[in-house]
């Protein structure tokens, strides 16, 4: 499965090269033209039968991770890149720099913790990465401040059609987008694999400006909080209940008509679909929507439990629902181009 390859590549925000190279190779098989812009966005153009409308689909290539900030006592000090829950870090395994040097996030063993330390979370400030170096000189020889650090986690299929991997946010989007690129439509399709989503939706705005689309759909992995000790009304999405449509989040109001159109498409085709029930988080749609004179946007996402962790979990069924829904929606837009213009009215 493409998702295995994609999630085992490292592409911490600002260092998406490895992911881009892989996707570029795949995209070249199907796209009319492939370009990389100055930020590193990969813009794949697929000419339609009529060039009256341009539709942009976007998925971000980057993932959360860390960066080397310096050295202390023979270990690496680091800062997170993107939103990471520091509680999950002690005991994590990582790969440092382009050489992918294995390292571990160490912490004081329970036997040596005093009562207060036992009862409280370990603070990010006190954490470090141990690569087994004997001294600072060796650390400096093997790594440099500014080296990117990614979680280490093997793609694993388990449970009832579930997948565990790192970076499901947003390699699920990348995987769907690569599938879409194989199709041909009436409209011009711009499949944009964007950079730096996790540090402030930096790449997508730039790509949208370049593409100047009539309509954009963001493909994402989104939070899923259907876990114990969370109230049911706090569930943002539920794993296994299908493709997720966003009504509102902290960065955007997706176009109501477009969302309704996609929702109805799902119902017509018996594709499981759900609305995201919380307004937390945000994604590239926020930046795309505000590009130039404004763009009609919507987000279609795969629910991912434990997002931004090395053990993100998703259901293959939800992935299929999402991909199906995007395809069906695009088919409809391809069949009746006047729809594309209608969402603005």
């Amino acid at each position: 499965m493409l998702l295995k390859e994609l999630t085992e590549l490292n592409g911490v925000s600002g260092n998406e090269d490895e992911v881009r190279e892989y996707i570029k190779k795949e995209a070249l098989l199907h796209a009319t033209e492939v370009k990389v812009d100055s930020m590193g966005n990969l813009i794949c153009y697929k000419k339609g039968k009529s060039s009256e409308y341009k539709i942009m689909l976007s998925a971000h290539m980057d993932e959360v991770g860390f960066i080397v900030t310096g050295y202390k006592d023979g270990v690496i000090k680091f800062s997170p890149i993107g939103g990471i829950d520091e509680r999950i870090l002690p005991g994590a395994r990582v790969l440092v720099g382009d050489k992918k040097i294995p390292g571990v996030i160490g912490s004081k063993p329970i036997h040596l913790q005093d009562k207060e330390e036992r009862g409280n979370n370990i603070k990010l400030k006190g954490m470090y990465i141990d690569i087994g170096a004997d001294n600072k000189e060796e650390l400096e020889r093997l790594t440099s401040p500014g080296d990117y650090i990614a979680f280490y986690s093997k793609y694993t299929e388990f449970g009832d059609n579930c997948i565990k991997a790192k970076a499901l946010d947003d390699r699920v989007g990348c995987a769907m987008l690569l599938e879409i690129l194989k199709e041909s439509y009436q409209f011009d399709l711009y499949a944009c694999f964007t950079v730096q989503e996790e540090v402030g939706l930096r790449g997508a705005g730039v790509a949208a400006y370049t593409v100047n689309p009539d309509l954009a759909i963001v493909l994402e992995g989104t939070t899923c909080s259907d876990v114990p000790d969370v109230n049911e009304h706090e569930y943002s999405t539920v794993m296994g209940q299908g493709a997720v449509l966003t009504l509102m989040d902290r960065t955007s109001y997706p176009n109501k008509k477009l969302v309704e159109f996609i929702y109805n498409t799902a119902r017509e085709n018996n594709i499981p679909v759900q609305y995201k029930k919380t307004t937390t988080g945000g994604n590239d749609a926020g930046k795309i929507q505000l590009t130039r004179g404004g763009v009609v946007v919507a987000s279609i996402s795969v629910p991912c439990r434990y997002i931004h962790s090395p053990v993100s979990v998703m259901s293959k069924k939800d992935f299929e629902s999402c991909l199906n829904l995007v395809k069906k929606a695009l088919d409809k837009l391809s069949g009746d181009a006047s729809l594309i213009g209608s969402f603005k009215d």
């Binding site: 999950i88 395994r93 571990v104 160490g106 439990r305």
Partner: protein, 349 residues
């Protein structure tokens, strides 16, 4: 001796305290390569014997516990999430976002998920997560989970070993599979060293829940002398010199009331003579190791403790220096070769 390859094999083999049966069989087969006789006792400790040259040979017992800390299934909720309790000293703080295997009717994979950070109450952000609040997500429905998993099933951590720089090695269960690897190293060394005493190698069970396997093994073997091999805390940023030992500087030889004074002194002298790096671990009372149980077995057994420095003990990223295992095996095998007939004198107080 390829310690890394041995460790990769034995560290990933599940063997939580009280559930060592499979691992004991696995270790027994490793022992059989060197030992004339290998047995698994009632507590699933593995005992292998290498006879000495002398007919009137004394008995030396060398122990290293083979059990590991782990988890046990406590309940399964209506959605199939599995709640757990700990076996041995497990730090709940280091379990979030870890991978596990539940050993039910068959082995199933799971992850310990963390509640999304934006849903945490302010006190949860600061306070460490409690064991009772951790859940395993198996990706299965409640019905499917209940078919495979029962309350009381054992859970082990799933973490691939990581080879780090300079002979450093990181894995789960190095406490105390590192000691078990040292036992095999000693057996291998003894093929090239002459020794008078009979050596009983005991890979013991249930150390993490109260030194039980060693207790039974010491009674059964009834040795003249015991050497316990375990791990001690490795130096980490912020640790004090008294509680932690740097990696790569040799095994720590313990001194204190739990250990036999003259024999310990002899071991330190030997390390000096043979230029084997070592460190001194001052233990004012309970060493927290099997030495504590073995010393007072039957009529009392002169006991020594040699420890391999290990960072991040009781986590899935326990880290050590392979050199320290090698030097532990060198030190203990030389010591066994040296003490022969003079043992009688050494053993008086």
């Amino acid at each position: 001796m390829d310690y890394i390859s041995i460790l990769k094999d034995i560290c990933i083999y599940p063997g939580v305290s009280g559930h060592e049966e499979g691992l004991a069989g696995y270790v027994a087969r490793m022992f059989e390569k060197y030992c004339s006789n290998v047995e698994i006792d009632k507590f699933y400790s593995v005992i292998g014997v290498i006879k000495g040259n002398s007919d009137a040979g004394k008995k030396v017992m060398i122990t290293a516990h083979l059990d590991e800390i782990g988890l046990m299934v406590k309940s399964i909720d209506e959605k199939g999430f599995v709640r757990i309790s700990n076996i041995g000293g497990v730090d709940s703080k280091v379990l979030l976002a870890q991978e596990v295997v539940i050993h039910g009717r068959k082995d199933i994979f799971g992850v310990i998920g963390a509640k999304p950070p934006h849903l945490l109450k302010p006190e949860e952000v600061k306070k460490a997560v409690k064991m009772q609040d951790l859940v395993i997500d198996t990706g299965l429905s409640a019905e499917e989970v209940k078919e495979i998993v029962s309350v009381g099933d054992i859970v082990t951590f799933k973490a691939e070993p990581f080879a780090l720089q300079n002979n450093k090695f990181s894995s789960k269960s190095l406490d105390n599979r590192a000691g078990v690897a040292a036992l095999i190293g000693i057996m291998d060394n003894l093929t090239r060293l002459s020794h008078d005493c009979d050596v009983y190698f005991a890979a013991t069970s249930q150390e993490e829940v109260g030194l039980r396997g060693a207790n039974i093994a010491a009674y059964n073997i009834n040795p003249d002398l015991a050497i316990v091999i375990d791990v001690c805390h490795g130096e980490i940023p912020g640790s004090s010199k008294e509680e932690a030992f740097p990696l790569g500087k040799g095994p720590a030889i313990a001194v204190g009331p739990n250990l036999h004074r003259r024999l310990t002194k002899k071991m330190i002298e030997l390390a000096k003579e043979e230029n084997i790096p070592y460190q001194v671990d001052v233990e004012p009372g309970d060493t927290g190791t099997e030495a504590w149980a073995v010393q007072v077995s039957r009529s009392g057994i002169p006991t020594l403790l040699v420890s391999i420095p290990l960072k991040y003990m009781h986590t899935v990223i326990e880290t050590l220096d392979i050199k320290d295992i090698k030097n532990t095996a060198r030190l203990v095998s030389r010591f066994i070769s040296m003490i022969g007939n003079e043992m009688e004198d050494l053993m008086c107080c």
